[in-house]
């Protein structure tokens, strides 16, 4: 145990929340945190404890364990219980309307909840001494225009790809026939070996619009595109290529900037 660590074990009751807050406020003072940051600390710990009091135990409150360990520039806080894990609660009346976790998220550097059915839960929070930066107003650096996915080669590829492609085709208002065609094309991609792909994962991106899907398979290694194109030819002079339009292999680069190729095609309803 570190010399400077605060440990509290107490019954998980609403009445004890105030005790926990006073304890962490004292710790915040000892660490010389500014008043507003002490207030944040009280909020963060309170909300983590609320989850224990509200969700961990049924009738008789069990223990709530709070530890706080000051480190370089930040506190590591842990709130744990020995209950049955978080359960969804329908009685919204007493619940915090889902504001608790967002408050923890907004005022801490990172937080993590672990646990599961029939085991206790644990909320671990990294809380920096400096106030949080609210300048990120939730605007992403760039807006993704397409869905990108990568799947480890194996049993997962076909069912996942078929369902995603099917869902996108349905959203693009494809007829049932064309939807089936699209899934067939997805199956062809699924049968492609991982070694054809640049990083060993079956990767593709799909841009969907009303009436059409634009599929870009890759990044693939050199020759991977042609190989996949060859696999579109079925025995008996049937080609899956006919189900799509503009199917071709295009040169390009991996996100890391290495040379790669893509098989690109378009499916319309």
């Amino acid at each position: 145990m570190t010399a400077t660590e605060l440990r509290l074990t107490l019954p998980a009751t609403a009445e004890n929340m105030m005790v926990v807050r006073q304890a962490v406020a004292g710790l915040g003072e000892a660490l010389g945190l500014p008043g507003m940051r002490i207030a944040d600390l009280k909020t963060v710990v309170s909300e983590a404890c609320n989850n224990v009091v509200l969700h961990a135990y049924d009738e008789v409150p069990g223990p709530m364990l709070v530890t706080a360990e000051p480190g370089e520039g930040e506190l590591e806080i842990e709130v744990a219980d020995e209950g049955h894990g978080f359960r969804p609660r329908a009685n919204e009346g007493d619940a915090s309307l889902g504001l608790g976790l967002p408050l923890i998220a907004a005022l801490s550097d990172s937080f993590e909840i672990s646990g599961g059915a029939s085991q206790g839960s644990r909320t671990t929070i990294r809380f920096s001494y400096a106030p949080p930066d609210f300048s990120n107003n939730g605007t992403p650096t760039e807006r993704p225009e397409e869905l990108a996915m990568a799947i480890t080669p194996g049993v997962m590829v076909r069912p996942v790809l078929a369902r995603v492609i099917g869902a996108l085709a349905a959203r693009a208002e494809f007829s049932v026939d064309r939807l089936a065609d699209t899934v067939l094309l997805g199956d062809a991609v699924s049968s492609s070996e991982g070694e054809n792909f640049s990083d060993g994962l079956v990767a593709l991106s799909i841009r969907d619009d009303t009436g059409r899907l634009e599929v870009r398979v890759g990044p693939m290694v050199t020759g991977g595109g042609e190989k996949l194109l060859g696999e579109m030819e079925l025995p008996g002079a049937v080609s899956l290529r006919d189900l799509a339009s503009n199917m071709e292999v295009r040169g390009g680069a991996t996100p890391e900037g290495e040379e790669a190729e893509y098989l690109v095609f378009e499916v319309t309803r």
């Binding site: 105030m18 207030a39 009091v53 309307l97 504001l99 608790g100």
Partner: protein, 107 residues
Amino acid sequence: MLTISGEHDLSTAPNLRRRLDSLLDEGAETVIDLSPATFVDSSILGVILDGRRRAADKSVGFAVVHSNGADAVDRVLEVTGLRAELPVHARREDALAAVSGNTGPPA
């Protein structure tokens, strides 16, 4: 007028809910003054939001005041977006005007 002072959390939320419910049951226009409060948690915010919903259902005036500037309670109202959402008035007069239907400028 319901004035909330000191620290409030899960342990006091049921009591606050009862007081608020009885005001709304009477159909009284309600102003919650959070200015003297030193701490409120998400359960208290939940009670306030429920109160606002009930007031709206009954078409009864409902407003929240916090005139303390940047303190711990203000921080929570800010971070949750409730200061703008409720809205929270910075002056008691504005809140009173808001509940009487004579809506002043928001806080």
